[in-house]
């Protein structure tokens, strides 16, 4: 069929629709069509209405993101402050314990804080924040309290005005006269530049056994008697078979200690 003929037919149809004024009469048809297709526009329009406030929402999101960043920064700061606070609380508790124990101890002591470890050789020496101004003396024993025990960790080596280098008992240069706590068998503790110590010159007939505790013997002028050193981990004979040797595990772990006490050479009672 030619397009023109179809056009004529359609135009006639259109004019008839207009002329007969179907506007009101087709209401039923309109309602029917609307009923059939209404879910689709409804869904779309609902979606549109939901996204109508999208610009407001985006603005809110941007504000929220900025606020989030700001609050994150604040949280970081607060966490840092809390961390510092926790450390101060812990330090306070440690110092309080130290002071309490210090009062019970017969020797005069100077509490000090470890400021640094020897950077050249971790574990061989430490630096404390007290020196000659605080009456720290050369060759004074340095101890700490672990489980209510006075544990020897070393002796003062270089005393400055406000800081002192402490030679740890694990250092090769450090020797400590010691005895087995239970049997009084005496020998000499020597540092090996290792986390473990050597307990040498025990008599061959010594009854030393694994698990025995080693304390200072009090021989010599440096270390008073009874300072805990460590426990026996291994027992063997010396190469020349005249002595027994033991491997000792120290009571302390240097990286867990923050405060120490420097023992003055005079006892409290001597002062009084």
């Amino acid at each position: 069929m030619r397009p023109t003929i179809i056009l004529v037919i359609l135009l006639v149809l259109n004019i008839t629709l207009i002329y007969l004024d179907f506007t009101k009469k087709v209401n039923t048809l309109k309602l029917m069509v609307l009923y059939v297709i209404s879910p689709t526009p409804d869904i779309v329009l609902n979606f549109i209405s939901q996204t109508k406030d999208i610009d407001t929402n985006i603005r809110k999101i941007m504000v929220a993101v900025q606020e989030n960043d700001r609050l994150k920064g604040k949280i970081q700061k607060l966490l840092f402050i809390k961390n510092q606070f926790d450390q101060v609380v812990q330090e306070n508790a440690r110092l309080a314990r130290l002071i309490k124990l210090k009062d019970q101890y017969v020797y005069d002591t100077i509490p000090a804080k470890i400021t640094s470890h020897d950077s050249s050789n971790w574990g061989k020496s430490i630096i404390i924040n007290k020196g000659s101004y605080e009456e720290v003396e050369y060759d004074s024993p340095v101890v700490t309290f672990i489980s209510n025990r006075v544990v020897l960790i070393g002796r003062t080596l270089e005393v400055g005005a406000h800081q002192t280098k402490v030679l740890l008992i694990t250092d090769r240069l450090c020797s400590v006269p010691a005895k087995i706590s239970s049997t009084n068998d005496q020998g000499l503790i020597q540092g090996k530049d290792l986390p473990l110590l050597l307990y040498d010159f025990l008599l061959i007939n010594s009854t030393v056994k694994i698990g025995d505790e080693i304390v200072t013997s009090g021989i010599g002028e440096v270390f008073p008697e009874g300072l805990f050193i460590g426990v026996v981990k291994e027992v063997r004979n010396s190469p020349d078979l005249f002595f027994k040797q033991c491997t000792i595990e120290p009571f302390y772990r240097i990286n867990t200690i923050n405060e120490v006490l420097v023992i003055k050479k005079t006892k409290k009672t001597d002062k009084q």
Binding site: L10, N14, L17, P41
Partner: protein, 164 residues
């Protein structure tokens, strides 16, 4: 031969829905674009007069169903547009963007004129205001390239193939 009738029906319904949405939510000076009219132009260009006028007639009836204007007036306008642009499509290079815009402008003005005449004679429908007169053609022209590209993708038809 026209294939993919279902695609054409879907385009028609989607066009109707979009037209409703644009009129409701994206009006410029309180008027929206005539998306179905643009699809009539596209199909008339692609498939010629016969298809253009039938498609325009059906689209017009759909708009009539949703509008408050005189029933049949949109159908009349779109039937003529479909026929006219289908007839013209054999004589011009409708693939040119500028030509498409020009014909959209002509179609929009013709559409407005028909609606205005219907208002004059029957008193039903809505009065043609200045925004309608100026904004609707511009809005239609603005959307024409986009709609033509989308329809070309959907129908896999490009206009230059039909240039005689």
């Amino acid at each position: 031969m026209i294939k993919n009738y279902w695609k054409i029906i879907l385009v028609m319904l989607a066009g109707l829905i979009l037209q409703v949405i644009f009129n409701e939510y994206l009006p410029v000076f309180n008027v929206g674009p005539q998306i179905l009219m643009i699809t009539v132009i596209y199909f008339a260009f692609i498939y010629g007069s016969t298809f253009g006028e039938i498609y325009g007639f059906i689209c017009g009836l759909l708009i009539d169903t949703f509008s408050i204007s005189l029933f049949g007036i949109n159908s009349l306008a779109l039937t003529i547009i479909g026929y006219g642009f289908g007839w013209v499509s054999h004589k011009i290079d409708e693939s040119q963007g500028l030509v498409q815009l020009l014909f959209t402008l002509i179609a929009s003005c013709f559409y407005i004129l028909v609606i205005y005449l219907a208002f004059l004679f029957s008193g039903s429908g809505k009065e043609i205001t200045l925004p309608v007169l100026f904004v609707v053609p511009v809005y239609n022209m603005f959307l024409t390239p986009v709609i033509f590209i989308i329809l070309s993708r959907i129908m896999n038809k490009t206009m230059h193939k039909h240039l005689h």
